[in-house]
């Protein structure tokens, strides 16, 4: 801190404290305290009747890890999040690169358009996917109308539909992350590569892609975390047939009213995400070096 601050008179300090106190109190009450409560809850027990008993035991965690279903949902969650994030990346990358490079007069409008879905409620977009992918949706209507298929193809209420919907909901975040990272991408470097004899695809592989690796890593991490904890999309597009950590946490908490189990699973998910992120970050750092 600057010397200016050290010399600050008592009155200035009091003003500062008064400015910040409401936020401190509020977030202490609605963020810190509930999170501590969540941590504590995971160590309570659930009796055979389903009633919660205050305790300090690992029983909830034990039954969580003994249940093979936990491993299955974990795998579902990680794999689905990975595929959805990858899909979002593959789709968002060309769009972000286009927005970065275009000299169109409508560039800022196009950028807004690319992230505008973020401003539309997630429920609305899920409904849109239902209308597109449902048995009587646009795609099935087109498939059957053209005589390609006779029966509706199952595109939704399964892992495919959830992955697609999730990828689309992640794309605006991915685009923003990529665009922020593309600032490092100097057009002159790509041009230099071309004048040195590299055809466009080689320029992409040897210059564009390596220079955007940091942006890709960042976007991927951000979206993967978002995907792991996404609830609305899997809930509505999964139609109860897609089992993920997020849906299980909600079911434990609301449907089964088994709070210790919900809390334990939530902590487990949190740790899992942190570990995966740390591992991925370490891996890419090694690869970059």
């Amino acid at each position: 801190m600057s010397g200016r601050q050290r010399e600050q008179p008592l009155r200035g300090r009091l003003t500062g404290l008064a400015l910040i106190a409401p936020a401190l109190v509020l977030l202490g009450a609605i963020y810190l305290w509930p999170m501590l409560g969540l941590g504590r809850m995971a160590f309570n027990e659930t009796g055979s009747t389903g009633a919660m008993a205050p305790a300090l035991s690992l029983a909830t965690f034990r039954s969580l890890f003994e249940d093979p279903f936990t491993l299955e949902t974990t795998w579902n969650s990680v794999w689905l999040s990975f595929v959805a994030t990858l899909l979002a990346l593959v789709l968002a990358y060309p769009l972000a690169l286009f927005l970065h490079r275009t000299q169109s007069r409508f560039r800022s409008l196009l950028t807004v358009l690319a992230v505008a879905p973020m401003l539309v409620s997630g429920v609305v977009r899920v409904f849109g996917w239902l209308a597109l992918l449902g048995d009587r949706g646009l795609i099935n209507a087109a498939l059957m109308g053209s005589g390609l298929t006779a029966q509706p193809t199952r595109l939704v209420y399964n892992y495919f539909g959830v992955t697609l919907g999730l990828a689309e909901s992640l794309m605006p975040y991915m685009i923003l992350a990529l665009l922020a990272g593309f600032g490092r991408l100097d057009r002159a470097c790509e041009e230099a590569a071309a004048t040195l004899g590299a055809p466009p695809w080689r320029v992409f592989l040897r210059v564009t892609l390596p220079l955007t690796v940091p942006a890709i890593v960042l976007g991927f991490l951000l979206c993967f975390v978002l995907a792991m904890s996404a609830y609305i999309t899997p809930k509505l597009l999964g139609g109860g047939r897609v089992f993920l950590l997020a849906t299980e946490i909600f079911d434990h908490a609301i449907t089964n009213a088994n709070w210790p189990a919900a809390a334990a699973l939530a902590l487990y998910t949190l740790v899992l995400v942190l570990l995966l992120v740390a591992a991925y970050a370490a891996l890419t750092r090694r690869a970059e070096a």
């Binding site: 003003t15 400015l19 963020y31 973020m118």
Partner: protein, 263 residues
């Protein structure tokens, strides 16, 4: 290599736009269907689903609750977040960096976990499914959001302008009112707009702490979509999209949208 993006990249981008905007586009299209369920192509077009919308009690109650809630949350978040952001940005408190990290932490946590924690904390206090409880729950997201946006806004305001005003004899409060605040208007507008939208669209936290006594529009929409898929929700979506566009235009006039989404 040519100037601009080139035809291939342009074509790829166009394709991605289709994927990105297809769900919203199809919702708008469906809303004007005359059928009682989703069929392509619709047998006719009408405004009947918009009329049905006003008659649907649960959704309308959700809408009015969500509007009121978002208003309260916006005012509360600005009232609490802006002073805190100012104190942090101008280093008027010790350990401003650590405080900022604490305030921004909720933004890094999945809303699913936050919602669960809030449920467990608010239930014993009988605050779930109340306006107060919902407002508190949403502010876990919006207050940190406002703080983040406003710290950036205040930090990018030139320090010297305030010093200059002070040297001209303005008291600290008058410096803030006559110099800092007017300069921060775009940031404030963006904060207000995004807080409102964040609260209005917040679904996961609301699902945890809503109940029959009080449930927000997104929660009602989830319930409706879970039950059946007819164009009613599409009509509602169109109303929401148009309203959002309208607000965006207003904010664009005040703050410049590029700056808002650029955050």
């Amino acid at each position: 290599m040519r100037e601009g993006a080139g035809p291939w990249l342009g074509a790829a981008a166009a394709l991605v736009y289709v994927v990105l905007l297809a769900p919203v586009a199809v919702v708008v299209f469906i809303a004007f269907s005359a059928d009682s369920f989703i069929v392509f192509p619709p047998s006719g077009y009408s405004l009947r689903w918009f009329q049905r919308l006003w008659a649907h009690e649960a959704l309308m109650r959700g809408l009015s609750l969500s509007l009121m809630l978002a208003g309260i949350v916006t005012i509360g978040s600005l009232a609490i977040g802006v002073p805190a952001a100012y104190a942090i940005a101008r280093a008027k408190v010790p350990a401003a960096g650590a405080l900022k990290a604490f305030f921004l932490a909720p933004l890094l946590l999945p809303t699913l976990v936050l919602g669960l924690a809030l449920l467990m904390a608010l239930q014993p206090l009988r605050l779930t499914a109340t306006l107060t409880g919902l407002a508190l729950g949403h502010m876990v997201m919006t207050v940190p959001f406002v703080i983040r946006l406003m710290v950036t806004t205040f930090a990018t305001l030139p320090d010297e302008v305030e010093a200059a005003a002070a040297s001209l004899g303005a008291t600290p409060w008058r410096v803030f009112r006559r110099v800092t605040l007017p300069l921060a208007i775009p940031g404030l507008a963006a904060s207000a707009f995004l807080s409102f939208l964040l609260s209005f669209d917040e679904t996961v936290i609301s699902l945890f702490i809503s109940g029959p006594r009080a449930s927000t529009l997104p929660v009602e929409m989830v319930r409706y979509v879970e039950g059946r898929t007819d164009p009613l929700v599409a009509a509602l979506s169109v109303v929401l999209i148009v309203a959002t566009l309208f607000v965006i235009l207003v904010v664009e006039r005040i703050a410049g949208l590029a700056r808002v989404v650029g955050r």
